[in-house]
């Protein structure tokens, strides 16, 4: 059954689309007083700030009449307003306007009134219609004299509630232009997680400059477009910069929630980790996004990836990298499609050979973990300004771990199985000096850079951690006497909490630090106490923290030459005249996916992700299309060319322009499924 927008988009000449933009101007907790209503009111107690108190039903031979159910009472001026007896609010004479002055103890940005029997409220020359008993408008002054106009000659105006805060509503009636830029980045090399933008210009009869001046950044603004019976989903943006007002034109610039991700992962976002499932990095990210309120869906958590039996979970989150960078990296390379069975560990379900991760906000945050199917169609015959661009193909991608050290000391995002205490016992030190056993506890770490030179052949050797932290300065204080009692800093590690995970739920949560704190002697990082240096070394190597001396891997992945060494991963194909690119960065630890002792499994990532990058088309393009395709960047569509061929393309950006009452979309894409 085609939707209204599909029907309209199929027409050559369409009905114009409705645009609805609302911005909730926040309540600044202003204290209000009410005056000026006495001479125009029939009865009033002026109680307009108690929202939960009911309006007292009065027997009324005019206006709404009186209830036959016994609920109406006679007007008794001696009955005070209360939660039990209700309130009178402000009630006018039948068919007559009501005046009301609202005064704040500071400037009132906007007001919202709950009122019956009124058609509109006039303030400062502007008239605001009452809609479903509610009217909202900007004020921008400390005192607002209002005039309420009755909706009919036989109705009585009843004002029940007045609150600060208001809603700016922009529709086709006052919209000059609205440009919605929805973005993803499908670059092959080092893509980012770009911000989407909303730029609005709207006309307003009433001078609201004072109110506009007080709209803070990050005020939510909601955009929808479509037709009465078929509006789009809400896209939520946040005011960025100052909302401006000039010549009665309101200019708003807003961005999506991506900028909230410009932060390092906070332990506060990780307090709901649970289960006995080792967390893949994308799942951790999804948990965080959900915790931040950006997505609501349940993360896809393939049962096949569980490593059963151990009620333990260790999640390593990088330090010095923002969540935005992590997501951009994951969205670029975390794509496993039709993984050859040879690369799967035995406990991985052979049917789960496809897993991708991509995140797009665009005002409607969405995580995709499956390959997009691309069932939608766009016909070239409907498009204008069709452009095609062909980049020089990439023949070789070399990923250098950063920094390259004697044992691959990369800073990385890890999702590491912790399936048992290494030989000996591992313990964690709280800041009160008490050691806790690792057994049956959940740990969540922020991990940054590994110690550069841990030499397994040399006892007692330790080196400074991430500058300016200095391990050496600290460990001299406890004074260790021998290798069996050595405190060894594995990394710049911050414990977040401990607790047991019986039955898959976190119990007995025992926070160690509620947030990341600077490393100092007092707030020391977590330290593993190993009974021997050999045990530590074994643990490090088994978990992929340190590398081995030999070349790990050299083979083909589905036609792509793959070479993995300690310091770099190289993937190449035989494209003639192709360029070579070198990537380096903080992410892509090799324990990303399989995180086990099996080197082949470990090394499938990032090499496999890099091979996927090489497969991407070097053909990009753009075109103008009619209206709103109701798509999200990274969606895949079938592009029906004029010559009858059908290309699968992945949408990179959509720029919707609502101008002069009409709508067009400029779309850019990369060929193929990215």
């Amino acid at each position: 059954m085609p939707t209204t927008i599909d029907i309209e988009n199929a027409k050559q000449i369409r009905q114009p689309m409705d645009v609805l933009i609302t911005m909730q101007v926040p309540d600044d907790d202003i204290s209000l007083t009410f005056s000026g209503y006495t001479s125009t009111a029939k009865v009033a107690d002026g109680v307009l700030a108690q929202k939960s108190w009911p309006m007292r039903t009065l027997a009324d031979l005019q206006g709404d009449g009186f209830s036959l159910g016994g609920s109406a009472v006679l007007y008794d001026p001696s009955t005070s307003a209360s939660a039990a007896d209700g309130k009178l609010g402000v009630r006018g004479n039948v068919g007559q306007p009501v005046s009301l002055t609202v005064t704040g103890d500071q400037m009132i940005t906007g007001l919202t009134l709950l009122v019956t029997g009124a058609e509109s409220v006039t303030y400062n020359g502007g008239t605001h219609e009452v809609n479903a008993g509610r009217v909202s408008f900007l004020v921008g002054a400390t005192s607002a004299p209002l005039t309420l106009t009755p909706s009919a000659a036989d109705t009585r105006i009843q004002v029940s509630y007045v609150e600060t805060g208001s809603e700016i509503r922009i529709t086709n009636e006052n919209l000059i232009s609205c440009v919605v830029s929805l973005r993803s980045d499908l670059s092959v090399v080092d893509p980012t997680l770009p911000e989407s933008e909303l730029n609005i210009e709207a006309y307003n009869d009433v001078d609201i400059s004072a109110a506009v001046a007080n709209i803070p950044e990050d005020t939510p603004i909601v955009y929808r477009a479509g037709y009465d019976s078929n509006m789009s989903a809400e896209r939520r943006f946040y005011v960025s910069g100052q909302v401006t007002w000039a010549d009665n034109v309101l200019s708003i610039h807003a961005v999506d929630a991506v900028h909230f991700l410009d932060t390092e992962l906070s332990p506060a976002y990780l307090t709901d980790l649970y289960s006995d499932t080792p967390e893949l990095a994308p799942l951790v990210v999804m948990r965080v996004l959900r915790k931040m309120g950006l997505i609501s869906s349940t993360p896809y958590n393939p049962a096949s990836l569980k490593k059963g039996g151990a009620n333990k979970e260790v999640v390593f989150i990088p330090k010095g990298v923002t969540l935005r960078e992590i997501i951009a990296e994951l969205s670029n390379v975390f794509r496993f499609r039709d993984i050859p069975a040879a690369y799967l560990r035995s406990e991985i379900d052979q049917n789960k050979r496809n897993y991708v991760f991509s995140y797009v906000d665009a005002g409607e945050p969405r995580v995709m973990t499956t390959n997009p199917s691309g069932s939608r169609i766009i016909k070239e015959e409907d498009c204008a300004d069709i452009k095609k661009q062909i980049e020089q193909p990439i023949s070789k991608i070399t990923y250098k771990r950063n920094p390259v050290t004697s044992f691959n000391g990369e800073v990385g995002l890890y999702s590491v199985l912790y399936d048992g205490v290494p030989s000996g016992s591992a313990q964690i030190l709280k800041d009160n000096g008490v050691f806790l056993s690792l057994d049956d506890y959940v740990f969540c770490f922020l991990i940054g850079q590994k110690s550069d030179e841990i030499d397994p052949t040399s006892s007692y050797k330790y080196e400074p951690l991430v500058p300016p932290y200095n391990l050496g300065q600290y460990v001299t204080t406890p004074s260790f006497s021998n290798a069996t009692d050595l405190l060894y800093g594995v990394s710049d590690v911050y414990p977040v909490f401990t607790g047991d995970t019986k039955n898959g739920e976190l119990r007995n949560e025992n926070p160690i630090y509620s947030q990341v704190v600077p490393w100092t002697v007092r707030y020391d990082t977590a330290w593993f106490r190993w009974t021997s240096l050999t045990a530590l070394w074994n643990w490090l190597t088994s978990r992929g923290f340190v590398g081995k001396d030999d070349t790990y891997f050299s083979t083909d992945i589905i036609g792509y030459k793959l070479n993995i060494e300690e310091s770099e991963v190289t993937v190449s194909n035989n494209v003639n005249n192709g360029r070579e690119v070198v990537l380096s960065g903080p992410l892509m630890g090799r324990s990303f996916f399989w995180s086990s002792e099996t080197s082949r499994g470990e090394e499938a990532f990032p090499a496999y992700g890099l091979a996927e990058m090489l497969k991407r088309s070097n053909i990009t393009g753009s075109f103008t299309w009619k209206g709103d395709p109701r798509m999200q960047p990274r969606d895949v569509v079938n592009f029906h060319r004029l010559d009858g061929t059908v290309e699968k393309i992945t949408i990179e950006t959509i720029t919707l322009k609502h101008e002069g009452g009409g709508t067009t979309a400029e779309i850019t894409y990369r060929k193929g499924v990215v």
Partner: protein
């Protein structure tokens, strides 16, 4: 002043003889237009307006010509629309008032072959 006679139009409330050939045409307004690669024009019909018109009279008395000459900026034009309703539109005069011949009939000055261009301002979204 509301229009009282369908043989007249009113400009800013001043009744003037209706031009015999005056028949305002409604035209659609489009936005978001573009031409596809196959040459098809695609767009949104956002409303309609009266098309710009030329008003011509065989003859008008000086008093009515004065109203035409006095048109400045936006003016209100009232006329009887094809459906019989009295319609009010905002217009601007888009040319000088062309006056070809001057005659005096029974002491009153009449102008022959009078014409002017009108531009309709209002857009309608019904």
């Amino acid at each position: 002043m509301a229009l009282t006679n369908q043989n007249y139009i009113a400009i800013d409330g001043h009744e003037i003889l209706r031009p015999p050939t005056f028949a305002p045409q409604m035209q659609d307004i489009y936005a978001g237009e573009y031409t596809t690669c196959t040459g098809k024009i695609v767009g949104d019909r956002i409303g309609w307006k009266y098309a710009d018109a030329t008003m011509t009279w065989d003859a008008l008395p000086q008093s009515m010509v004065d109203y035409l000459i006095g048109m400045s900026g936006e003016c209100t034009l009232e006329f009887v629309a094809p459906d019989g309703t009295i319609t009010s539109e905002t217009v601007i005069r888009d040319s000088v008032v062309q006056l070809q011949n001057r005659n005096t009939i029974r002491g009153e000055v009449w102008w022959r072959n009078v014409s002017l261009e009108l531009r309709f301002i209002n857009a309608h979204h019904d």
